[in-house]
Symmetry: C2
Subunit: 408 residues, 2 copies
């Protein structure tokens, strides 16, 4: 293996030298380890601590209540939404930041059913393989709107939609396998059936072009703490296509979404545009940490991010194939680029013990129980050398943890 390894290390060095995004790594607080869990929690951009310190000590501590105006706190949800918009292919004015992804799934699905406004459309179709919270919340939205939940695999959505479908919720990238679903094709089929397409972008935004406007998506949600590096539990976002904005009828019409919130009017009048997706007072510390973190995207072309992402995952899979003992791991991630997100999922019977040892060695991926090793490749800060090293460490760990080792 030694000759092979030398060759692959040389390849990694050449790829890193040619990488136009390589300079971005220095923007992040990283150590000597290999961080392949940015698809769970993005690394800290180095400039964020100073920005957060200013928000806490000066904006809150000194200006206090005046910061709602003077520090731009009140308008942060729309302003930060406008920063994220180009990363997901949305023109300004359609995104708002706030609340968790789960809460935004609820707004989007109940909102979609109300936009359709047709009792005969009594079904909500949901990706049966999705991150579970989407399914739980979709069931709640169905229950509260008197609809029936229809869970189907994403590949079956096109056949499942019809005259009874109100809305369809699909996750753009499967959190477990890393499979990228066909957003343009599914969206077109859903719309052709007269239903609305709702996408969860948690595992795609910041890793690949999404093209919400270009593909005619109706509503979308996504988190900001994975590839967008917004920090732990940073607020999520809601996209409502402009053509629906005037009729979007939120199930959570908090005072922040009112046309004149400080009138304290007992009657509710919805605001215009993205503001309708707001609910209560925004969590300013988390939100402004996210705003600061988004600076790392200045001047970045998402197409370049996607190209590097595919090159990284290709190279990692090649290294794993070259180094790993035969038969110990099996890739669940599609080989076809059109079907691959920015992670590699490897099935491994000894996954819990293997991941624990990898983490102990500074190669941080994560485990999806019971038997999936998950490695996320964040193009802004993961290098080809990281990918090679992770594969080599994985191979070494597999040699030391024999097949059949029970989970700890």
């Amino acid at each position: 293996m030694s000759d092979t390894r030398d060759l692959l290390r040389e390849r990694a060095a050449r790829l890193d030298a040619a990488d136009e995004l390589a300079g971005h790594r220095g923007l992040f607080a990283l150590d000597e380890g290999v961080y392949l869990d940015g698809n769970s929690l993005g690394a800290l951009p180095r400039h964020v601590p100073d920005r957060v310190a200013d928000v806490v000590a000066r904006q809150w501590g000194q200006l206090r209540i005046r910061s709602w105006d003077e520090s731009g706190w009140w308008t942060a949800p729309e302003r930060i939404g406008a920063r994220i918009a180009p990363l997901v292919g949305a023109a300004p004015g359609q995104l708002v930041v706030g609340d968790s992804t789960s809460v935004n799934v609820f707004k989007a699905l109940v909102g979609a059913v109300r936009l359709v406004d047709d009792e005969r459309r009594d079904e909500i179709v949901v990706d049966a393989t999705t991150f579970p919270t989407d399914g739980y919340i979709a069931r709640s939205a169905a229950r509260l709107t008197g609809r029936t939940l229809v869970p189907v695999a994403p590949g079956e959505v096109v056949d499942a939609v019809g005259p009874r479908t109100a809305a369809v919720l699909v996750n753009h990238v499967d959190f477990r396998t890393g499979r990228l679903h066909d957003l343009p094709g599914i969206t077109a089929a859903v719309r052709a059936a007269g239903a609305l397409a709702v996408w969860d972008l948690c595992h795609s935004a910041g890793a690949l072009p999404v093209g919400l406007d270009a593909h005619g998506v109706d509503l979308a949600v996504g988190c900001t703490y994975k590839y967008l590096n917004g920090g732990p539990g940073a607020p999520a976002y809601l996209y409502v296509a402009r053509r629906h904005a005037d009729r979007f009828d939120s199930p959570l019409p908090g005072w922040n979404s009112h046309a004149d919130p400080f009138a304290m009017d007992p009657e509710y009048t919805a605001g215009e545009g993205a503001v309708r997706g707001r609910v209560g007072t925004p969590d300013i510390l988390s939100m402004l940490a996210l705003e600061a973190a988004l600076d790392v995207w200045d001047g970045v072309d998402v197409a370049a991010v996607r190209a590097k992402s595919l090159a990284l995952t290709d190279f990692f899979l090649e290294c794993v194939g070259a180094y790993a003992p035969a038969g110990r791991v099996e890739s669940l991630t599609p080989a076809a680029h059109a079907e691959r997100g920015s992670q590699v999922a490897l099935r491994c019977a000894e996954a819990p013990a293997v991941m624990a040892e990898l983490i102990a060695r500074g190669v941080v991926g994560d485990l999806r129980r019971p038997d999936v090793l998950r490695f996320g490749f964040t193009p802004l800060y993961v290098s080809f050398a990281d990918a090679e090293r992770a594969a080599a460490e994985l191979a070494d760990v597999l040699e030391r943890i024999p097949a059949g080792t029970p989970a700890a």
Copy 2:
């Protein structure tokens, strides 16, 4: 007025010298001004910036994903709920922190209707004078559960409840007038009618004893950025009385509320106790800033806070009465202690101009359009000298802004 002022200043000095909470003022970042807007955004506790810096730079920046376990991120919502519990008279295990107040009102009201589980109870009664978001969200909860919203003044709740009432939502302290509503009496009447009592504690928690358990409240919500000083938009909390915990059925059953969230089970199984009130991934930066801020409550007796609050508002009203030109301001805040929260609201025809000038002089209250001057008294850091100075500045501003001056 000079002699009167000397006397009142001396009184203030004596009251401050005897104040057992006076030492707490030094825990906060305050300047030479008078901050009477802690009922909108509490002041920054001095130790919070260092704690937040550690969360950002070390917990996020260095430990990254490991912090979900190693830094206690995952359990923060229940842990911080347990810190707030004694401040509102709740035994541990019934409070959880997360999401905005508006989102928690939605969970509480839909949850209450489901707990009652009786189609004949087809009404949700809501405080018609409440902070508007409660009314907007209550209307949404009624719409989604097929109930009718019945807005009534808090004084009429006892007469309004009956066999058709499912739940009643009342704000403990009116955000505009500062009136304290009769939580024990209204709760008893609501429960006697077979309905559930839901309280909004935004303007009472941290300012006066609430006694959720003692008075048999069913559900409650509250924010943490006013008297609890948690920071701008800090997450709110949800209280579900232990007797209801096993049957609480959240309309927002996100994966964080699952009995085994990391099993990623497509089927939802609710967790036990307070965890049922969780939804999505918690906003860690805002949440841990709140946790740090709660340290200022160590060893504080809420009864002492209440006693000081009443003494402060009494004294401020006395000073205003002594200094202000006759007929220019009228207190909307009840004189009776049993009916007073921790703020003083003064009606003043020239309120916009008067508050702008007060703020320019460093006396920060706020305006509730069109004509209410609102002054919040936070017993942990407002002194009697502050109250006297605020009243004197108010009187001086009223002299300089004649009656009849139009709003800017």
